[in-house]
Symmetry: C2
Subunit: 354 residues, 2 copies
DNA sequence: CGCTCCCGTGGATACGTTTTCAAGCATCTC
DNA sequence: GAGATGCTTGAAAACGTATCCACGGGAGCG
């Protein structure tokens, strides 16, 4: 009922001008006694500067945007927690959107953020570079996390080919020579090394027919997988879901049924890993006796599984935190991208080839 | 580089006044030809109304706030997804904060939202009614989800007693007779029925010594538990963690060690359930042979566990969606609270008392 | 002693929108 | 035919803040 005090009220109560109040509160210069009086009055009136006025004046919203495909994916939740932690310590609000891995929804949410004048954005992208061009062109400070937008699909290239060329350009460190999107900083895990380690591990156990089970945005991982297993890549052994749990399950189930000869699976994300466990169980495939499984993302429940899942761990929370740091410190001009290490955590879901 | 077009630009280009443009875009009345011209010009200029200006004018931020203890908790992630889905369909941004179950951080985040003039808030509260009084007094439209804030701790009452009196007041339907916070609508599951069903189920299996493992905000569930097992409640069998995974693990481990005579555990949340599985395994307790476990929240990984977890399912996504609906349709004055049913899903983590 | 320079201060302006208000104009009614 | 009524329209105010600019006074320097 009692409306919030405005800067004018404070100014009047302190007997100074609004400019002085603004300066005191923004850390500008002011005489000690003036500053003290203003501060006292502000505290007594319980004055809180309205972000609305400030934002309008400076033509930008203070907060930062965060776009992830699905919070129910534990890795994305970890990443979000990292972003939130960093943002909180900076006192910045964060606007979250979930895209369901759908470029269209992603574009829509970008539009919404633009409308809100949110000019700093952290994203786990689902769309390709074309989707992201508008946002970047508008001057938004964008930081990609976990993955990079794929090359625009000029015509109909199959994902694998695009993914490989993507890898060529990006080559471990994402700051490739060309490609517009390489100008935007990113925080990603060293997918190439992670996948390579996992594949070598499986090879060491005797596995020959190894499959990759990916979701949207896992092109880099798929490409790294292709590289790690070496040519010729059996294209039937690289399958993709579309982002939903159902689709992941369908992909996993289809893979197991169409290729009973495979003996090991690398899941490109924890939702895919979950689907693989479920599908295998449904088809009476025992893990790891009948099929070995290694899953991207170390999540708390990986350890609870039957058997406990061998995973490629990437520091989700750290990635979010670092991404938030990058996007907040973007005052310091051009930012370097960050590549964090992965770690193969061996539990019980891999065994020797039967 | 090219600054965004403002309403003035559109007005000038269309040869009309800004008021007309505003009306056309807000669905006001205008002559067909004027409307068409304005729309055409706006489209051609790629004009998007700035939320900043609008918000300042109407003295409120369009968006809605969402406060949860921890997105890494799968249930909270589900709830958040529900909120995001509803908000997206309404075109509203949502500002998310995670409180780590800490009332202090919660209060801080409430302050931040206040500063942003976010006047609609959905919260899984951690603090008590005292923490929430300021937000509600300011005129914020608040909807609680999953739980209600506890009664203010006047002096040092132990959580169990407070929880029980809480239950007395709230009695299933949260709109109790007194208590200021009972005026705020909420979306909660029928904890009482859920817990009662679980306890009866365990009783039916022959279990006598059943423990409750809770976290912050689980007072109602603890109270319902006490009611279900009937007096006298063995207070040692009701233990609380503080919200973190570590604390949950410590609580679970401590419980198992101090009371080797217990034969069943009800976990008040999925993080507690996770901790219980881990702690049991560490102490070489077999589930369900040595100890039975039923966990609150049905989460995707409950099925993957060894053994698959018997759970009290509550519709997290729906709860979020309904809460968002409530908070958005709050134009229609006083809203009724919603109580959603729970379902006991029997899997493999409960067995007969050994 | 006088000039300059700098610091502290307050008035005024701009940010982009919605909304009120009055005016203009055409149509309808008596 | 004149007054009333309704619809469309544009000018202007307001929202709360940050910042530009001008002004005043004190101190330092010549």
């Amino acid at each position: 009922m009692d409306k919030r005090a405005t800067i004018k009220d404070v100014a009047a109560a302190a007997g100074v001008g609004v400019a002085t109040v603004s300066r005191v509160l923004s850390g500008g210069s002011a005489s000690p006694q003036t500053r003290e009086r203003v501060l006292a009055v502000a505290a007594q009136l319980d004055y809180r500067p309205s972000a609305l006025g400030r934002n309008l004046r400076q033509r930008r919203t203070g907060g930062i945007g965060l776009l992830v495909p699905d919070l129910t994916d534990t890795f994305h939740a970890q990443l979000a927690e990292g972003v939130l932690a960093c943002a909180r310590s900076a006192g910045e609000p964060v606007v979250v959107g979930s895209t369901a891995g759908d470029p269209e929804q992603e574009a829509e949410l970008i539009g919404m953020l633009l409308e809100q004048s949110v000019d700093r954005l952290i994203a786990v992208p689902s769309g390709d570079q074309e989707t992201w061009a508008p946002a970047i062109r508008t001057g938004m400070t964008v930081v990609f996390a976990d993955r990079l937008p794929a090359l625009p699909s000029t015509g109909d290239v199959d994902p694998a080919a695009a993914a490989i060329s993507d890898l060529m350009v990006l080559d471990g460190v994402p700051s490739g020579p060309q490609g517009r999107s390489s100008e935007v900083p990113s925080v990603v895990a060293d997918d190439r090394a992670g996948i390579r380690t996992a594949v070598r591990y499986l090879r060491g156990l005797g596995h020959k027919r190894i499959a990759f089970l990916g979701g949207p945005g896992h092109d880099r991982r798929a490409a790294a997988f292709g590289e790690a297993v070496g040519a010729p890549v059996d294209e039937e052994l690289v399958v993709f879901g579309t982002g939903s749990r159902d689709s992941a399950y369908a992909a996993a189930s289809g893979l197991f049924q169409s290729r009973p000869d495979l003996s090991a699976v690398v899941a490109g994300g924890n939702m895919l890993g979950e689907a693989a466990v479920l599908a295998a169980r449904e088809l009476d495939l025992r893990v790891p006796r009948d099929v070995s499984l290694v899953m991207y993302d170390d999540v708390p429940w990986a350890e609870l599984c039957a058997p406990p899942l061998t995973v490629i761990a990437q520091p989700g929370r750290d990635m979010g935190y670092r991404a938030a740091e990058l996007v907040l410190r973007s005052g310091g001009r051009r930012q370097r991208s960050v590549v964090l290490p992965t770690e193969l955590i061996i539990r019980g879901s891999c065994g020797p080839r039967r």
